[in-house]
């Protein structure tokens, strides 16, 4: 193929199979992520349907447990993470004035691992014995039992992790080596900063998960006994290794979303981000601290007092830089000229929702209090508030914000607001009652429950169906915007600032072949 042919816009299925273009790959990640969101959302509806009433009406407990396990794995590894890698692919090169990602062919492979990994994960559910059913945290001894469905899942997680690691290497190399001249690190958009830090978190944490999973695989099949007491091992070791990964993982999920909020709130407040430098340092602090708090997921395993106290203090400490970020977003809005288009609604709603989750997190951080909350619905409420509040609200904020840039069409603002409000009402209806269920003693990961929990479970189930239904509006909006609508200008938003708004809407297939001048 000649260079000219390649420079033209490729078409057809081979375009998508072989693309090394960061915009195409970003689109692939986002489309994949939303397909997985449908799968994961369906699983959540199976869960909430069974929990509509006490008793076992719809599914048997083993299948229910497979649903809770798979729902989490699909949502975390199939939806949230690929969606944000997709946003990174689309936006980071443009934001820093680079022509593409540092390693475009590896970028293609990073994406194309995912459909195979997802297939393995789903296939595991159909294997004899079903998929893993002990929760997404895969604790042994339970996870060392179980049939081939568990092996499918473990291999799938290896592949998902590999994709994330390669994607992160690409992002770091792009940001460190390919910024346009004049764009120093401290002039980078916050989305680029949060992704840079997240990418380092990913390459530090994900391989540890790979180690834990490999140890599970060898315990299952190759006669090792890392987690087998009979052989001198210890199941609690798995919990340590897993959560050493698992805690940085949750910050991996939220930090890029924080970057999105830091881009959008200044735009619609028509005011620069308050305290840019402190936002960078706060993000870095959160990332560093995230490595020393892991055992707050394990307060009840029998650690000595000194250990419990250390993790309690460190966990409380991590609330400080997080609080700095929230104060800075609020301060950005203070005395700003605010308008409340859909991206702004998602951003403010996201900060608010995340903050509620942060408060329940502080409650969970207190060791003796956590003895009551551990493994109850209080924890379920907490993590849905922080992940949905930050990651998902952040994702929708980003998509509404940049959709006009990507497609060249304005989306319907009315429909966007409907999507936002129905999702917000539905989400809070689903998860706010779960705080009280947990405090009242309802354990998590159970298909049947004591009678007194019925009413709040019913609120929660109604909310779940409302939330999922509201997403149909989003799919309609997105597909319509891809195919038509009012023409978007280059700048799209009055208060928008950044290199992406200097390009046309949609941007050229290859942008910034010549580096832009940075003020």
């Amino acid at each position: 193929m000649s260079a000219d042919h390649h420079a033209q816009h490729p078409t057809g299925i081979t375009r998508w199979l072989f693309t090394t273009n960061h915009k195409d790959i970003g689109t692939l990640y986002l489309v994949f992520a939303f397909i997985m969101a449908i799968v994961g959302g369906t699983m959540s509806l199976v869960i909430r349907s069974e929990l509509w009433q006490p008793g076992l009406q719809l599914v048997d407990p083993h299948f229910f447990n497979q649903m809770t396990t798979a729902h989490a794995l699909v949502m975390i590894f199939g939806f949230a993470m690929p969606a944000f890698v997709g946003l990174a692919n689309w936006m980071v090169p443009i934001m820093i004035g680079a022509p593409d990602m540092a390693l475009p062919r590896m970028n293609n492979w990073s994406f194309w691992i995912l459909p195979f990994a997802a297939t393995l994960l789903i296939l595991g559910l159909f294997m004899p014995g079903g998929g893993p059913a002990g929760g997404w945290t895969l604790y042994p001894p339970l996870s060392v039992q179980g049939g081939i469905g568990t092996d499918f899942t473990l291999l799938s997680i290896h592949m998902l992790g590999m994709s994330s690691i390669l994607g992160s290497i690409n992002i770091i190399a792009t940001i460190l080596n390919m910024r346009a001249p004049g764009m120093t690190l401290m002039k980078m958009p916050m989305f680029a900063w949060t992704w840079l830090i997240t990418a380092f978190l990913l390459i530090a944490a994900m391989p540890v998960l790979a180690g834990a999973i490999t140890m599970l695989i060898t315990d299952r099949h190759f006669g090792t006994h890392f987690f087998d007491a009979a052989g001198g091992g210890d199941p609690v070791l798995f919990q340590h290794v897993f959560w050493f990964f698992g805690h940085p993982e949750v910050y991996i999920l939220v930090l890029p979303a924080f970057g999105v909020f830091s881009q959008i709130i200044p735009t619609f407040a028509r005011k620069p981000l308050f305290g840019y430098a402190s936002m960078v340092y706060a993000t870095a602090s959160i990332a560093l601290l995230s490595f020393i708090v892991w055992a707050h997921h394990m307060y009840t395993v029998g650690m000595p007092m000194a250990g419990e106290l250390f993790f309690m203090y460190a966990t409380m400490l991590i609330a400080v830089p997080t609080g700095v970020k929230i104060f800075n977003w609020v301060s950005t809005m203070w005395r700003g000229s605010m308008t409340f288009e859909t991206p702004m609604l998602w951003s403010i709603g996201g900060v608010f929702t995340f903050a509620i989750g942060g408060f329940s997190g502080l409650m969970l951080a207190i060791t003796p209090a956590d003895f009551q909350y551990q493994d109850t619905y209080f924890v379920v409420a907490h993590f849905h508030y922080v992940i949905f509040g930050a990651t998902i609200y952040g994702l929708f904020a980003a998509i509404y914000y940049w959709l006009p840039k990507w497609t060249g069409h304005l989306y319907s603002e009315t429909l966007g607001k409907w999507h936002f409000w129905l999702t917000t009402i539905g989400f809070n209806l689903t998860f706010f009652p779960q705080h009280f269920l947990g405090l009242a003693g309802m354990p998590r990961r159970i298909p049947d429950y004591a009678l007194q929990f019925t009413e709040f479970n019913q609120w929660s189930t109604v909310g779940a169906f409302l939330t999922i239904s509201a997403q149909l509006i989003f799919f309609y909006i997105a597909i319509r915007a891809m195919n038509g609508g009012a023409k978007a200008t280059d700048k799209v938003w009055e208060g928008a600032d950044g290199l992406e708004w200097t390009l046309s809407s949609p941007p050229p297939y290859h942008s910034f072949a010549v580096a832009p001048k940075i003020k």
């Binding site: 390649h6 420079a7 083993h62 022509p99 593409d100 540092a102 390693l103 590896m106 004899p128 014995g129 079903g130 001894p141 060392v144 039992q145 049939g147 992160s168 290497i169 690409n170 770091i172 190399a173 460190l176 080596n177 390919m178 001249p181 390459i203 530090a204 944490a205 994900m206 391989p207 540890v208 998960l209 790979a210 180690g211 834990a212 315990d219 299952r220 099949h221 190759f222 006669g223 090792t224 006994h225 890392f226 087998d228 007491a229 009979a230 052989g231 001198g232 210890d234 609690v236 070791l237 340590h240 290794v241 050493f244 990964f245 000595p304 290859h510 072949a513 010549v514 580096a515 001048k517």
Partner: protein, 217 residues
């Protein structure tokens, strides 16, 4: 497509090389963190031993013990318990349930074990001591848990444990409990006696959704 860079930017060849170098370094970090994940396993053992966590007991020998004085000013109660796990068809119990001793004294108790099955079975006992802080001070000179125990069908054995509670034991500790969990070291045999839940490790036997009822008595 990256060929058209100008404005004093590094030339494409250098940039490609720089990206590759950085990517390789980051891949190295990835591998190092993978190794770190594995290193956590022995590190965990070391930390548990050093901090007396997980009830991992200390070991000592006759000469060291002889050199230490006996603290006659206090007594400590030591209780003994044991469990044969479901995959091990043995009767297993301590012959002494409780004793009073002085820190520094060497004592011996015996556990009785009997193979109830029709075939030879080998077991491994894993000890645990509570409270955790007392575990490093509970030092065993000789114990059946140091080695695997093989019993013929119907065989009965009395197995000794010789130990000393050293004088460094915290003054607040008045009772120590020594517990053993006895495991069948053969996973296929464990599954036969204990059910599919115990099928793990070598010769993994895939099973259908629900574990079959345990066979045998």
């Amino acid at each position: 497509m990256a060929d058209a860079m100008q404005d004093g930017k590094p030339k494409p060849r250098n940039l490609q090389a720089a990206n590759r170098r950085l990517a390789l370094k980051l891949a190295g970090v990835t591998l190092a963190m993978f190794a770190f994940g594995y290193a956590l396993s022995p590190m965990y053992d070391v930390m548990c031993r050093a901090l007396g966590l997980n009830g991992k007991t200390g070991r000592t020998d006759v000469q060291t013990v002889a050199a230490q004085p006996v603290d006659m000013s206090r007594t400590v109660t030591v209780e003994f318990t044991g469990l044969a796990t479901s995959g091990l068809p043995w009767e297993f119990k301590p012959l002494t349930k409780k004793m009073e001793l002085h820190p520094g004294e060497t004592l011996e108790v015996k556990y009785l074990v009997r193979n109830l099955a029709q075939e030879e079975i080998t077991g491994q006992a894993i000890p645990s001591v509570t409270p955790g802080e007392s575990a490093p001070h509970f030092k065993k000179i000789e114990c059946f848990c140091f080695t695997r125990q093989t019993l013929k069908p119907g065989e009965t054995r009395e197995m000794p444990v010789r130990f000393v509670v050293d004088a460094g034991l915290d003054q607040d500790v008045h009772t120590i409990t020594l517990s053993y969990s006895f495991f069948n070291i053969d996973k296929v045999s464990a599954q036969k006696y204990g059910g599919a839940a115990l099928a793990q490790g070598e010769d993994h036997v895939a099973h259908q959704g629900h574990a079959p009822a345990a066979t045998g008595g």
